[in-house]
Symmetry: C2
Subunit: 100 residues, 2 copies
């Protein structure tokens, strides 16, 4: 299981990390961990224009972190891989250590 990943795998992994490497996107992921939300709700949450938020969500979707579903005039996004939430605790511990 702990075999060396290939270059292509590292590249793909990096894409996932890159998708999470933005405060606004983290905020959205955190919000989506509590249930699905439409784009307009997330736009209000992060305080950016809707086109901006839409592109952030497209990034998260492309990375496979969220999925979307159109219902009527709205598009609802939901977290498809909740395990990303586990990251946050580890990241918090990283930050604690780095502050010493």
């Amino acid at each position: 299981m702990a075999n060396k990943p290939t270059t292509a795998q590292f590249k793909a992994q990096a894409q996932v990390f890159k998708a999470l490497a933005h405060p606004g996107r983290l905020l959205m992921v955190d919000e989506l961990s509590r249930g699905e939300r439409c784009v307009c709700e997330l736009a209000e949450l992060v305080g950016s224009e809707m086109p901006t938020v839409s592109r952030h969500l497209a990034q998260l979707k492309h990375a496979g972190i969220v999925d979307d579903e159109k219902r009527g005039a709205q598009v609802f996004y939901r977290l498809v891989t909740p395990c990303v939430m586990n990251f946050f605790q580890c990241v918090a511990s990283v930050r604690e250590k780095s502050q010493r």
Copy 2:
């Protein structure tokens, strides 16, 4: 435990993810999970020039993911937060889901 993090916390978390959002740096972190390495070893591993690798390592250090120690003319880096390795499994599952 699942309280809403603050904006500053999301920003700091994003920094950690950003440090991991690069194939070469992931490769280095993976290698360091098997023990400390000097800069020249890592440079050969990733196939980039030493200055480039040195800057990548500085990023990882700044994010609190690795630490360094000078011994003689060489600088050895080691993984300070092994929990980041747990990310990789989750990321792999993210990728599997996104490939359907």
